[in-house]
Amino acid sequence: MRSVGVLVVVCLLLAVFGPMVAPHDPTAINIPNRLRSPGGAWLLGTDALGRDILSRLLHGARWSLGLAFVVSLLGLIIGTVIGLIAAQGGRLADWIAMRTTDTFLAFPELIAAVVIAGVLGAGTETLIFALTVTGWMRYARVARGIGLSVSSRGYVVQARLAGLSPLAIARWHYLPSLLPSLTVVWTGMLARAILGISTLGFLGFGVQPPMPEWGTMLLDARIHMRSTPLQMIWPGLAVVLSVLAINLAGDALRDALAEQDAKE
């Protein structure tokens, strides 16, 4: 649990304070300075329009990490609600919720996101919409699975007999059992969201220029691959490192929870 806490804090710090420590304006065009090699005032060099790459990377954290945070949390909320409705709401609600989940799962999520973002027109709102709509199903499955096992426990039966509202039962009796597993799913979905945002950016359906999102930066850098190959390294490295850190934290969390389960 602690590793995930640290991770969340680091991600948030980077997204919030990253832009503040950036040495230059990430969108300031400075043509005479274009395609500089790393060194001097431009630690990682400059891009084709003379913008400082380090500053763009730091500002990019707000887009890449911040948006991934938003998208994965929205998915968490929507998925948990749908999963709990399926677990608590009787056979018909379960059937509808699970066939809907199947339908959304029956399609490669990233391709669906590409189609949605592409068709609705590029922009931050459509990006969030596209990735949220395609990113809630795993939460729903986990919430339903655990919810079903919880619903047969004695204390849930007692709460229902006492006349507690479904909302209160969800809050007090389902959520505490769900949270550990949902957190593990969340770390996975956060990593996926980072990859999704940068992939959509790279394909041209994501965050729009001049905003410095990591995938979009790679798309720009691609054209100048021959003259300044290093430009292509940095944004990709940023994606890999953040995804790697999140996955490792998720693995650690999963192992810790499995150990705790084994003890009980």
Binding site: A106, F107, V115, V119, T199, R222, V239, V240
Partner: protein, 312 residues
Amino acid sequence: MIRIFAGLLARAVVVLTGTALATFALLWHAPGDPALSIAQARYGTVVSKEVLDFIRAEAGFDDGFWTAFWAWLAPLIQGDFGQSSVNGRDVWPDLLTAMSYTFPLALVSLGLGLAVSVPLALIATRRPGSWMDRSAVALASVGVAIPAFWLGQLLILLFAVQLGWLPAMGAERTAHSILPAMTLGFGLAASLTRILRSGILEARGQSFLPAFHRRGVAQRNIARDHVAPHAAVPVVTVLGLELAFLLEGLVVVEVIFARPGLGSFLVNAIFARDFPKVQAMVILAAVIFVVVNLLIDLIYRILDPRMDGRDA
């Protein structure tokens, strides 16, 4: 068995109908007038109002969502994917051509992924916790974190730009497929290694295995008769999961390497706002996905008859 198959089939039909409906609803609400783009594709940029009205009536746009949906779905069920709204040509032949580029690449990548991951997972699990195991895990963890679009670029940079050994763009020769297959195969190998490794370890941990050791059954026979079927179940699952990864990777890789496959087909259709093509591609991907998952479900039940679906 027949009842199970009928159940799975019914589920597949529900899922495909849902996908068709969701796709159509999305395009219905997309910004822009679909009739205008069809008219412009057929008759040039300047279009009279009469022509627009004619096209709207023809496609059922005037009679509301459900009529228009049926006007698209009815021919689709009979295998008619409609015509491109950009050049008016039938979509299906173009789709077939694109498939002929995509499927071989997908198969080669999958083969590459398995060829790397299976031996790696076997070596790693011989002694769990050893340096071999740990480096395999580390490699796989880094591997799954590398986005395909970046890896593809790096491979181009190294092998095409710096070394000049391999061609980067296009699909004319076999050599053109090497870098794309490496890109996809690498990602597949990484995630396959992770899942195979834990599958093998889990199978070994099963309680009946120590009993065989005590009875003196040869190590090799245990691996063949008891560990292999248990590792096979996760492999089949993984192939189902990796299918999504493979299809997503194909889109990215085909765009990077400018291959005229299904991925480029989709992305170009979106940019051109050629909605009949987008719809056709989405339905095709859904059919592939559902059919493969159906087969996997069946194999599952044959491998392990106790299994009651994978969502339990």
